[in-house]
Amino acid sequence: MRSVAIIGSGPAGWTAAIYAARASLNPILFEGSEPGGQLMTTTEVENFPGFIHGIQGPELMQVLREQAKRFGTEIVSAMVESLKQVEGGFELVSNGQTYRAQTVILSTGATAKRLGLESEKRLYGRGVSACATCDGFFFKGKNVIVVGGGDSAMEESSFLTRFAEKVYLVHRRDSFRASKIMQDRVKANPKIEIIWNSEVTDILGEEKVTAAVLKNIVTGETREMPIDGVFAAIGHAPNISLVQGLVDLDEKGYVVTLPGSTRTNVPGLFACGDVQDAKYRQAITAAGTGCMAALDAERFLSGH
């Protein structure tokens, strides 16, 4: 039986791997269906300490992976399909193979939410996009909508102005929750127009997106707006399918950890990063809790 299995390969997972490997715990890390996690679809990361001029999200993840590898982390490039408690630890199944470990560090992160419209599904890849980095290129000289009010909505709006003629930033409140520096950048950008107190209630088009239906939440008024693309940046939901029924979750679905630690209610199961953090959700806080999880696992193992 192995001592540590880490599930997920964002900043939390790789940091846990670096610490666990340096503590000679020979960790095995499962990269999952989206290796590198959310930073893989971002561009410039300017607030991760240690990079004076910022670093590209995918590059940061590549560096963390190499660092974890250098200390001997065993990497499995596959998803974990099931996780259960067994005598003395846990059993994981990945790609038809069974693995056993005394402790598990859960760092499965969170996934971007969709608007939840039928038309959004139908027009996905036809003007509706989940990745501004990937698809901005296809909207050269076109008009797009970004939905949301947080940092990722600001980042996507700013990024899309490199290609789009006009970016309409649609938000359902009358103020943003994004950080001030990101808000200021958006508000100063002449290509971005903010549409407050509104939501997208439908996306129209046969072969591709041609318009969106906007509803003003205050007045109840709806209007059709010609548009070529729709990008949603409305927050995230924790990836908990693997631990549902196994571990305590809060009312929003995040894994509950004991205050000041990464311990869950299941002995030997530790959670770090966005899967247990509804509040901060930063790369650096994910890395911080990843470190904590490795130290917590090490302490747990030495007590056994």
Binding site: E34, P35, G36, T41, Y124, G125, T133, C134, D135, F138
Partner: protein, 107 residues
């Protein structure tokens, strides 16, 4: 080995092909495309060329073709049969799922 398709060879190698052709539209800046790259290579190695051809098209260098087929999100895979689009597969996915989606199109 997966083929490389371009604006220049698209007509002869894809549209006029005797067997169905799968074209993976991708770009350097697209992380999910880069995840799909090795999977597409693997699938290309396993499927008989007499039943289906598989190749990649860089949308940055071959914008005419990408625009002509309304590719607006990558990775997108288009399946061509007799010069017509027979299927559109959008997004990254594990190998098994891709194989499943391509199976009905094998000649």
């Amino acid at each position: 080995m997966a083929h490389t398709y371009t604006d220049a060879n698209f007509e002869s190698d894809v549209l006029k092909s005797d067997v169905p052709v799968v074209v993976d539209f991708w770009a350097e800046w697209c992380p999910p495309c880069k995840l799909m790259g090795p999977i597409v290579e693997e699938v290309a190695g396993e499927i008989d060329e007499a039943k289906m051809k598989i190749g990649k098209l860089d949308v940055d260098a071959n914008q005419t073709t990408a625009m002509k087929y309304n590719v607006m999100s990558i990775p997108t895979m288009l399946v061509f049969k007799n010069g017509e689009v027979a299927d559109k597969i959008v997004g990254s996915m594990p190998k098994e799922k891709l194989m499943e989606k391509l199976a009905p199109h094998l000649a």
